[in-house]
Symmetry: C2
Subunit: 388 residues, 2 copies
Amino acid sequence: MVFTKEEYNSRLTAIKQQMSKKALDILIITDPSNMNYTTGYDGWSFYVPQGVIIALDHEEPIWFGRMQDSKGAKVTTFLKEENILGYPEDLIQSPPRHPYDYITDFLNSKNWANKNIGVEMDSYYYSAECHARLMDQCPNATFHDAHLLINWIRYIKSDNEIKYMKDASILVQLGMQRAYDSIKPGVRQNQVAGNIQQSLLSGKDEMGGEYSGLNIILASGVSASASHLTPTDKKFKENEGTIIELGGVKKRYHCALSRTVYIGKPDPKTNDTLKITNEGVERAIEKTKPGNTCHDVAVAFWDVLEKYGLEKDSRCGYSIGLGYPPDWGEHTLSIRKNDMTILQPNVTFHLMAGMWMDTWGLEISESIRVTENGCELFCDFPRSLHLI
Amino acid sequence: MVFTKEEYNSRLTAIKQQMSKKALDILIITDPSNMNYTTGYDGWSFYVPQGVIIALDHEEPIWFGRMQDSKGAKVTTFLKEENILGYPEDLIQSPPRHPYDYITDFLNSKNWANKNIGVEMDSYYYSAECHARLMDQCPNATFHDAHLLINWIRYIKSDNEIKYMKDASILVQLGMQRAYDSIKPGVRQNQVAGNIQQSLLSGKDEMGGEYSGLNIILASGVSASASHLTPTDKKFKENEGTIIELGGVKKRYHCALSRTVYIGKPDPKTNDTLKITNEGVERAIEKTKPGNTCHDVAVAFWDVLEKYGLEKDSRCGYSIGLGYPPDWGEHTLSIRKNDMTILQPNVTFHLMAGMWMDTWGLEISESIRVTENGCELFCDFPRSLHLI
């Protein structure tokens, strides 16, 4: 058990309160992060349909998934066996049959198919087909969009969740240091990525890490002008900058960190842009405290950029914490102008200053926890351009 | 360019032929593998809505995605700039707005919103919300399920695709050997996983690898009774078996390999079950040749299991090749009884004998190419129980 039964119970209570408020009898969850949050389930089985059903009139959540993965649910969740549903193998990737045929049968058998049912319309792995099967086969149900209902409950972290993110911060700093130590002219990008992964996963002392919701982002030269390219056979070379974005992960909780490396003597535009970006990051951190909004933090960041005539169209941050591929972001707050979400103690976000220019780029980021009076950084890692 | 323009063109021709056959004017793709197959696009950006539009009356595919990722499309695809559409940042994770509002505007602007439009109803990252936006905002379009249309074109690999899978086979064998060399009593699972990742990514000589569609599966003891658990801080110990499932990846093409390791002297049930499983794997390989069906291969495998009274409910294989998280499977053939798909030269699949028992488990697998007269294994790696 990753958290106490009490912590899972308090999560469930908060969810059921929200369900009542929104007049939902049933909630069907498919986002693997929300499945983990409500049951502890942890397995790389989200490539087939699976989910968790929460019903106001049923005490425990109900896990459903492929029969062979139900053993993983027994190993990783606190659920009673009666609340673990494995659907038959012959529904796997054999259209026209589909695993949701089983789910709709189950809903009908429980007399839940004529209820108000919340579904996560825009969550990962809730395909158009899953939704179409539910609507077709439960014609007396009323479906409501409950996307982000649980994510907003996850918005404020418990101290136990923060502890895992602090563990993750140790891992991500090991990974970034390994990157710094490995990058040399003539070395392949994927050799460096291999070293980074070794550090992120092996960790140190008694603690190692896990696969990340977002893979290692590492790109050099013109490829650093794009935000999400990944390591290749390309070799590092002189007079090129490299962006590196990494996640340390403990019990599925993430700490992200981005830095920029340059081999040789950086040109003035790289140096200047990094200085300006760092000034923006510092102003944003100063504005991060309870009661301020995401908008306030964004204004502080962009005021600096605008002072120097620098442009950046994309947001400069988002909530971070519990995650599975393809993301470590929690899809609640964004650090951008007009996001009026109010910061509160134990809100955590990734302040991400990615400057993707015409033919080059740089990245500086920090994972941040809002404290009672201000904020603290998860990592203690210099933000300067790292020179090789 | 990962493939020649001619190869991309021939793929597009085959897709447009299928579209004509099914009376589709427009095809909207969201599976990242299919996006890569049609355009070469390669980036970890599938955590936000993105896709490729193919229109019978438009020569090139059209990539769409977040504005900041459009630079990645310029770097990795062969598309003309006019066929790369970046949608504005303020649509990112800011409901009630949604990126598909932009896509429906685009379809309307091209006069495509009253056409027959194919969508991949059950593909990864095509959420219920994406589909609802399309239907609401293109009320004069007729939507058809085109799920797997492209996957079935991918069913037979080109020689160039096979070459990348052979590169991937070198990587996955390095990874498995590293696992064998690293597992010792008292070592943490994630230390071994770190070493494995280093080998999978760093590769050797001039070639390294990429992140896999399926993460490292590694589980010991009772956790090996489940199919998809991943490495933790748990330490290896005497008299326990460990299942390991790995993927080598080159240019997004996968070669998978599973083996079982035992520390100490294995009990008779582990030894016997492994021998039976290996006999089944051998019979299945013998039946793998053009003209035979997946059913034929499955019968050969299960005949052995039944002879010895062993049960296995889950399929024992599936098509493999091009993939992105969460999967390396291609969702076409399955090796199971009554799958009457006919094998043909350059069909590739992962013959996966996972035996997940009550309180323990074992795995043996091979990635296989169907040849002109039979088949060949991508790897040359002993299938015996590896003893530490």
